[in-house]
């Protein structure tokens, strides 16, 4: 049912050990995940990232995104007000739905990353016609 989320984020056990070794600050982007009939749509807010600095991996049912963000100001900048920090964005999701990894598509515009994860053929709802065999 709908309550049983098909996308779980790994808890203590990380899917990718690389997560632990990143030294610099990294942030968890806000996302919207929408399941449609034929695909999962993921929208992630990654402001400040450039499109050629975004890595998306899908491996063993784990979707991970890593967007590198270059510092925009010199490190010694004295802020009068600093309400947010900047750094890379990282987030990993476990996707239990069967995905056609070959057809994953991504777009980036205005600081928002859009990912299309098409469901594998087998996972799509299929209407089965029952034929009557009249003998």
């Amino acid at each position: 049912m709908a309550e049983e989320s098909k996308l779980a984020e790994p808890g203590a056990e990380q899917v990718r050990p690389a997560e632990h070794t990143r030294s610099a600050d990294h942030f968890r982007p806000n996302v919207d995940i929408l399941e449609k009939e034929h695909e999962l749509l993921v929208l992630a807010d990654v402001p400040g990232a450039a499109s050629d600095k975004i890595d998306i991996d899908f491996e063993d049912g784990a979707l991970s995104l890593h967007a590198r963000v270059e510092p925009r100001q010199a490190a010694e900048t004295q802020y009068l007000l600093r309400e947010y920090g900047t750094g890379d964005y990282c987030r990993t999701f476990r996707v239990s739905e069967a995905i056609d990894a070959e057809k994953i598509a991504a777009e980036y515009a205005n600081g928002v990353l859009t990912l299309h994860l098409p469901k594998a053929e087998a996972a799509r709802p299929r209407k089965i016609t029952v034929n009557t065999n009249s003998e």
Binding site: A2, S5, K6, L7, N30, V31, D32, I33, L34, E35, K36, E37, L40, L41, L43, D45, V46, P47, G48, A49, A50, R72, Q73, T77, Q78, Y79, L80, L81, R82, E83, Y84, N110, G111, V112
Partner: protein, 146 residues
């Protein structure tokens, strides 16, 4: 000998107090002091000798959805974050905020409102506010009258 005529630079603490005062005046009490309230975009503010800079992260926002105005020493920013077109399906996560966000800030120095510029790049809005002549650091040569 060189005298420095320096505009009084507010400390971070003073800016915070100012912000709190301003926010509580306009929007009621602010829980947590400096933390931006729900519906308020977070900002970073820094300065150089000749300008003040205000930066906000506004992913998904286009130039025509940003409204910036400067009246005397008040900067107001209004951002309309579009609702994602309603699509058929089930939301498993819905963390991205939508709607109108606004913020009014009192600037610590006078700025030249006519030359304020704003740039939107990869979801980051940077507002450059050139300081008014009177607010700039100025060196005054002292001549000796012998």
């Amino acid at each position: 000998m060189v005298f420095r005529y320096l505009w009084s630079q507010p400390s971070v603490q003073q800016v915070r107090q100012e912000m709190d005062r301003l926010l509580s005046g306009h929007f009621g009490d602010v829980a947590g002091g400096l933390l931006p309230r729900r519906g308020q975009p977070a900002v970073n503010v820094w300065e150089r000798e000749d300008s003040l800079f205000v930066e906000l992260e506004v992913p998904g926002v286009k130039t025509d959805q940003v409204d910036i105005s400067v009246i005397e020493d008040e900067l107001s920013i209004k951002i309309q974050r579009p609702e994602v077109e309603r699509e058929e399906g089930i939301y498993h996560r819905r963390e991205r905020g939508v709607g109108t966000f606004s913020r009014v800030m009192r600037l610590p120095v006078s700025v030249d409102a006519d030359r304020v510029e704003a740039e939107l790049r990869n979801g980051v809005l940077t507002i450059t506010l050139p300081k008014a002549e009177s607010a700039r650091l100025r060196k005054i040569e002292v001549t000796s009258a012998s």
